[in-house]
């Protein structure tokens, strides 16, 4: 049993009661809502004649169904337009703040929460979306929930939950140039497996994590769920506080020191006890890239796609299934695999620092004529910042498309989709069969810089060649 970790402290301070079933009733400090997983919850509320208990603790935006090429309303997709209108009507009826397209603050829910200063240390945060783990980067307990649970939060501001074990993942070592937070998290999933985190909250620690910016920490926590962990978090520190200070929903200046004292108090104690501890050496990492159909099926850029006889018997079938879908040959080099689409964006890598890294690689170069390259800012504020820095001009000069904010090609709920068995180099988080909109489509996950390099060469390549030259 873990003790004196951030997880234990925040859980204890938010615990309302032990329910007759034995589960804990836990207060939810921040609730985020988007158009896809909320309409049924609002309908359930309406049917019961219930109200929202704490309307000022829920915030809404629209991201999954938003087209990124043309955001004029009404959307040409009638179903998307209906979802957008339904969210507007629901938030209006129940008194919830909605960051709609016209607010200049719309974006992917996991990007706007931090950006607006809503996401803060020591909170419990829930959203009907599995990548809610992203917000754990601030030292909060943040996790995805289903739609019935969205109803519960709206109605009571609490959830019925079972507690988790805590695994400390200690990351040490200096990253080599061309290796990013994305590579670390892909490596963690490769090592611990896609189900290794079931039943655990992951605490990421170690000097490598401490040196990271908030953007990088969010990339790490974002993909906790790909490793099976519903929650991933990082203890808050000065980097966290500097990020939050001055943002729209941050504690006001005269209360900020009080807030920092509180935030320091909820961090894991130096003698905290964990259920498990894992060490990851980041200094030897090369860029990591997935080749298969789960985020755990990845290799370093110098490596080959595994052969069935090189792995444990229990993994053989999944390698065969993955190679069959990907149309790759076991033992083939990952480097040199041709791509059709390059996608920079998503809640994993759609923040300003991600766009800057991609722009550094694309500056003064051209994407291959065989590749459609789309760059999608994670929020309207990221878009405005990128344009202020001239990044949009760099992308367009390189032959990439500069889009409006949304989830875009991370999943198949808007017009951005793979066609047939196209291969995409993608900075998103899931390479599941069909994820990017075609049942035969293929996804290679990698860092935004690696996506940019692949776009230029028309095939999977080592971005470090671009950084050296």
């Amino acid at each position: 049993m873990s003790q004196r970790t951030l997880y234990n402290k925040v859980w204890a301070s938010h615990k309302v009661a032990t329910l007759p079933t034995g589960q804990d009733q836990v207060f939810i400090g921040l609730h985020l809502v988007h158009e896809v997983t909320s309409p049924q919850a609002f309908s359930m509320l309406r049917e019961k004649g219930s109200k929202v208990r704490y309307p000022n603790r829920t915030f809404a935006t629209m991201d999954h169904i938003v087209p990124t090429a043309n955001q004029i309303r009404p959307f040409s997709d009638q179903q998307a337009e209906l979802m957008a209108q339904t969210l507007a009507a629901n938030t209006n009826e129940f008194g919830i703040k909605f960051f709609d397209l016209a607010t200049a603050k719309q974006g992917i829910v996991h990007i706007i929460g931090p950006e607006l200063g809503l996401t803060q240390p020591g909170m419990t945060i829930a959203c009907g979306d599995s990548h809610t783990s992203t917000h754990g980067a601030f030292g909060s307990l943040a996790f995805g929930i289903g739609t019935t649970e969205v109803r519960d939060v709206l109605e009571t501001q609490t959830l019925s939950l079972s507690s988790l074990k805590v695994r400390l993942i200690n990351v040490t070592g200096e990253l080599r140039p061309g290796v990013y937070a994305k590579d670390i998290v892909l490596k963690i999933i490769q090592v611990l497996g896609v189900k290794g985190g079931i039943g655990y909250a992951y605490e990421y620690g170690g000097e490598t994590i401490r040196r990271m910016s908030m953007d990088e920490r969010m990339t790490i926590c974002n993909m906790s769920i790909e490793g099976g962990a519903r929650i991933g978090y990082i203890n808050p520190d000065q980097t966290t506080y500097d990020y939050i200070k001055g943002r729209e929903f941050a504690p006001p200046a005269d209360k900020f020191d009080t807030a920092v004292d509180y935030w320091n108090s909820i961090a894991s104690d130096s003698d905290a006890e964990y259920d498990d501890i894992v060490h990851i050496d980041a200094s030897s990492l090369s860029p990591v890239i997935t080749w298969g159909i789960t985020p755990g099926q990845s290799v370093g850029i110098e490596d080959k796609i595994p052969t069935p006889d090189s792995v444990l018997a229990e993994d053989r079938k999944s390698i065969e299934e993955a190679c069959a879908h990907m149309k790759f040959t076991p033992g083939q080099d990952i480097r040199g695999i041709p791509i059709n689409v390059a996608f920079v964006g998503s809640c994993t890598n759609g923040r300003i620092s991600d766009l800057r890294e991609a722009a550094k690689i694309l500056q003064g170069r051209q994407v291959a004529s065989t590749v459609q390259t789309i760059v999608v800012p994670g929020s309207q504020q990221v878009k405005a910042q990128a344009e202020a820095e001239g990044l949009d001009k760099i992308f367009e000069a390189a032959g990439a498309e500069w889009r409006g904010a949304g989830c875009s090609m991370c999943l198949a709920m808007n017009p951005d989709k793979l066609v047939g068995d196209q291969i995409s180099a993608s900075s998103s988080n899931r390479n599941f069969i069909g994820r990017q909109g075609s049942a035969t489509g293929r996804t290679l996950l990698m860092s935004p810089a690696m996506v940019a390099a692949a776009a230029i060469e028309g095939c999977v390549t080592d971005v470090r060649d671009y950084i050296r030259s």
Partner: protein, 203 residues
């Protein structure tokens, strides 16, 4: 009134082969553009049940004549990983499935199943293989899941299954929909809100 208690479930089963079956596979994202769950059952496993021209893929287990109207799904490891979409368990439930038996389940998926009254129980790889084998040979024979004794009977075979105590208790007492339990503590909820510094704006 239909009882909310889930104690005994009896019916035929269908084995779904493979590990790490994610919720995008259980219900592809394009079917999520509906504001109700009503039609989700129609879209269950759509891209493996139907080809690109919407023709039935005849040899997919759910399409085989011997596996029509199943009560149980028998699945492998890490079933329901990925997206938190409740559309996935809703599709399973609305297809007529009343419980899922597998080697392991993703956490959010298992929680969503509990919230809508669909027990998911785990068993060892060996026992899942035994069950799948039994079902393949006897597709018309019902299995019997007894949550109280945490067992599944298949003919004369009885296997042990696992389910967390809290979830078991919720199913047996019929309180898997937590709404009423949560609302019983409105005073305590208010007290916790008043105690949390950030809820009080650090005043």
């Amino acid at each position: 009134m239909e009882s909310l208690k889930r104690v005994h479930i009896t019916g035929t089963a269908v084995p779904i082969p493979g590990d790490d079956i994610d919720t995008d596979r259980i219900i592809p994202a394009r079917f999520l553009k509906e504001i109700t769950f009503e039609r989700m059952g129609e879209f269950l496993f759509y891209d493996v049940r139907f080809d690109a021209s919407d023709n039935i893929i005849e040899d997919y287990p759910l399409n085989l004549p011997e596996y029509q109207n199943p009560t149980f799904l028998i699945v492998g490891q890490n079933f329901g990983c990925g997206s938190s979409r409740e559309h996935a368990p809703q599709a399973i439930m609305r297809f007529g499935i009343q419980a899922v038996i597998g080697e392991s389940f993703a956490e959010i998926f298992a929680g969503n199943c509990k919230a809508i009254g669909v027990p998911v129980v785990t068993a060892s790889a060996e026992d899942i293989a035994t069950l799948s084998d039994y079902v393949a040979k006897n597709p018309d024979q019902p299995l019997d899941l007894n949550l109280e004794s945490r067992t599944v009977s298949a003919g004369d075979k009885v296997i042990q299954v696992n389910i967390a105590d809290e979830r078991l208790s919720a199913f047996i007492s019929g309180t898997w929909d937590a709404s009423a339990l949560l609302k019983a503590n409105l005073d305590q909820i208010k007290q916790v809100g008043e105690r949390l510094p950030y809820v009080q704006n650090f005043a």
